[in-house]
């Protein structure tokens, strides 16, 4: 079943992913005009790049070197996912409700060698605009999709999971790429 927010745009190009300590990853992204053709192209590129990256469930514009508030997510089939909305791209996303806080391990393509324990809300409501139509949407989700959205919204604000790890022993050297 196709969720109403599912990405249905042009084919994008695979872009190189930047890794920390790149400055752009710590830069607050600008709000975007979701109807801007350049933004739609960026959305397509984020989806294309996410799809070719093994284990990648989300990718934000800052991770391809663009300081803009837009990201792609797809947690379909992930064992920790409950509610899923397929592949989708959100512009200017904001968390408007958050509850059921829970710690969990997460990693990031832009911090490829480390993972960390981060507390995230297990249920959230996010408001955003869809690229292309600019249609405002509210997404209610939970579990792993909620975690992925919070991680990507952090990227849009220039934050990495390293800025939220629970303590000195809550970062781990990654052994296998998940």
């Amino acid at each position: 079943m196709t969720a109403p927010v599912a990405w249905d745009g042009p084919q994008g190009n695979v872009l190189p992913v930047v890794t920390a300590p790149a400055t752009v990853l710590s830069t607050v992204g600008d709000e975007v005009d979701p109807a801007d053709p350049a933004v739609v192209q960026l959305a397509a590129d984020l989806v294309a790049t996410m799809r070719v990256s093994p284990g990648c469930v989300g990718l934000a514009a800052t991770q391809v070197g663009v300081g803009a508030q837009i990201f792609a997510v797809d947690v379909t089939g992930h064992p920790k996912a409950a509610t899923t909305h397929g592949t989708f791209v959100l512009c200017n996303a904001k968390i408007i409700e958050a509850s059921r806080w829970k710690a969990g391990r997460e990693g990031c393509m832009s911090v490829p060698d480390l993972t960390g324990d981060v507390k995230r809300a297990g249920r959230i409501v996010v408001s955003a605009a869809l690229p292309g139509s600019g249609e405002p949407v509210e997404i209610t989700t939970d579990a792993f999709e909620a975690r992925a959205l919070q991680h990507e919204i952090d990227h849009c604000a220039g934050k990495l999971f390293l800025d939220r790890v629970a303590g000195a022993h809550a970062i781990y050297q990654r052994k296998v790429y998940l």
Partner: protein
Amino acid sequence: MHELAITVIGPDRTGIVADVAEALAGVGANLTDSTMTRLRGHFTMTLICTGPAVDEASAALSSLGDVVTSVRSVAPEFDKSDGGDPYVVSVHGADRLGIVSAVTRVVAAAGGNITDLSTRLTGALYVLIAEVDLPAGVSDELAEQLAVAAAELGVEVTLRRAESEIL
């Protein structure tokens, strides 16, 4: 009762923790607080134990071979919980000399007591995470001072309240 502070550092290998523990158990050492980790592939263990004399513990550990050990007698101390508020400091950025000293100096100047700290260098990325007990009411000012220090170092810093629910 002798209280001993012991460090053991050497190449990591399977069984090294068991060997250290067995050597100490053999001379009647009771491990109280201990921590073990790998730092860039080196096995490192720091512990406090009671029971044996310094010479006995040193002799027992000398059988381990390819490790550097130190054993010294320490006066018993107890964790001082002086009521500070728990915070976490994260720092990340390009590796350069002096990140740890600059950040920890700012924390110390604010009266913050670092209770746990780890750093990791992976590729060009340097990460420092410190757990800090802060006196009441200093966190906002410390956050500003850390931001100044971080800007000088060209790194990112966040200071936030530690989460500690009791379930």
